[in-house]
């Protein structure tokens, strides 16, 4: 079933906010100037962070890949308390359902955008000449990101969110 991206963004808006927050967070950590930031809006893209360029590949990598770490972690943390009453004890718990929606929404926006991947790729091409290990490792990651963003059309983002929020607790607790 095809649902326009804007509608998905509205339905999962916490994930958009956390995604942009993650970019901003790593900009702050790495002391990168941020010119503009929009955490959520009705449109495409649903959010953005405009920051200064940097030659430091680690900084570029962290800023671009930040959402993957932050969103994934938050998704797991939020869904964990909700998992047990709903999945193990089979209880209808409004708070738990809310938490699962919140967690999965955040998880759905964990994967960096193609623009984020492109930022890393462009710099990695230069850095790999300096035998930068992180740059070398980033190539397959960037490839995976591009593939994943194509697969969003078949709900890859939802599958990822559910895999993290429900799948991992299932593996832990059975």
């Amino acid at each position: 079933m095809f649902i326009p991206g804007e509608i998905i963004s509205v339905l999962t808006f916490p994930g958009v906010i956390v995604h942009e927050f993650a970019h901003m967070f790593f900009c702050k950590v790495r002391k990168i100037a941020v010119f503009d930031a929009c955490y959520f809006r009705f449109g495409n893209p649903a959010g953005y962070v405009v920051h200064e360029n940097t030659d430091n590949f680690t900084t570029t990598f962290l800023v671009s890949m930040g959402p993957f770490v932050v969103n994934t972690l938050l998704c797991l943390l939020i869904c964990l308390p909700a998992y047990m009453p709903v999945k193990f004890f089979d209880l209808d718990h409004p708070l738990s359902y809310f938490l699962i929606w919140l967690g999965v929404s955040i998880g759905m926006h964990a994967i960096p955008s193609n623009q984020d991947a492109d930022n890393v790729f462009q710099q990695a091409k230069q850095q790999v000449k300096n035998k930068n290990i992180l740059a070398i490792l980033s190539f397959p990651l960037v490839g995976l990101i591009y593939v994943f963003n194509v697969l969003r059309i078949v709900w890859a983002d939802l599958i990822y969110g559910v895999a993290i929020g429900i799948g991992i607790p299932s593996l832990i607790f059975g």
Partner: protein
């Protein structure tokens, strides 16, 4: 403010930020759109967007001839530089995150009972596998108290308690627990079988030897190949004989006892049981297992 002349039209002193350089030729925006109507016209051409170093890219303030400091490629005035460098999360974003953290903490605290109950259920299962029914029952009971909305836990606690009572020869108590579980546990829990076992114990304890016999026969009907089942019927008849003195009861007792011995005459527990039945038939005295062991620690003989 810096200015430039358009190389296409006659316009002079165009603000530098309003110009575009293509292959080192400066164009104003109008001429750019006129000369390059399609993207294909720009193929293989060097395109540069000039940035006036005297105009702040953030607030667009003109600083005359003064060149501003740059952040990345953008000239930024001092005031805007401070704002940009100190840019932080808006209040609503901070509030959003605080709300998420509060919700997560509250839900962890609120739902902790489920995780605690889960741990107890798992531990209870381990104790059950190891034959420690007392701890298994206690843990399952604790779990059911933590999550009263899940009735299945309370039923399981009864089931485990029933087994515990059965192992401690508290047939009447076991029967109460098993009756709670009837029709509410899966078939492989053998609840009907356990109820019969409990009835055997309960009727014996209550000195209802007719009931003892009925329950023993019901148990035997389930599986006639078990020595214990045959011995239980023999025991019931022996009790009736001890109580009423009817020879017929004695004969039936001996008959079933022989059947039991034919099936298994080696098991030590069974041999003790047979010995107790023999004593009962001989002395017409009904002793419980503990009483018999106390009186005849080395077994009884005529």
């Amino acid at each position: 403010m810096r200015t430039a002349d358009c190389s296409s039209c006659e316009k002079r002193t165009i603000p530098l930020n309003d110009t575009i350089k293509v292959d080192n030729q400066v164009y104003c925006e109008n001429c750019f759109e006129k000369n390059f109507t399609d993207e294909s016209h720009l193929k293989n051409k060097k395109i540069e967007r000039e940035i006036d170093p005297t105009v702040c890219s953030s607030c667009s303030k003109d600083f005359g001839d003064q060149e501003l400091n740059k952040i990345s490629a953008y000239p930024i005035c001092k005031d805007c530089e401070i704002k940009i460098k100190n840019k932080t999360f808006p209040l609503w974003v901070k509030s959003f995150f605080i709300a998420i953290i509060v919700i997560v903490l509250v839900s962890f605290v609120w739902n902790w009972k489920f995780y605690s109950a889960y741990t107890e259920i798992k531990e209870s299962g381990v104790y059950l596998q190891n034959g420690d029914y007392t701890n298994a029952a206690a843990l399952m009971q604790s779990a059911s108290e933590k999550v009263p909305e899940v009735e299945d836990l309370s039923i399981l606690a009864s089931y485990y308690r029933g087994i515990e009572y059965l192992t401690k020869d508290r047939g009447a108590d076991a029967l109460v627990e098993f009756e709670r579980c009837k029709d509410r546990v899966p078939a492989d829990y053998n609840i009907d079988n356990l109820i019969i076992q409990a009835k055997i114990g309960a009727t014996f304890d209550a000195k209802d030897y007719d009931g003892f016999l009925a329950a023993s026969l019901e148990n035997l009907a389930l599986d006639t190949t078990l020595a214990m089942s045959q011995a239980s019927v023999a025991s019931a008849y022996a009790c009736l004989y001890a109580e009423r003195g009817k020879e017929e009861d004695k004969q039936f007792s001996v008959l079933y006892l022989e059947k039991a011995k034919q099936i298994d005459s080696l098991n030590e527990e069974l041999k003790q049981y047979y010995n107790r039945i023999d004593h009962r038939l001989y002395s017409r005295t009904i002793l419980k297992h503990e009483e018999f062991l106390k009186q005849f620690p080395n077994g009884w003989s005529k």
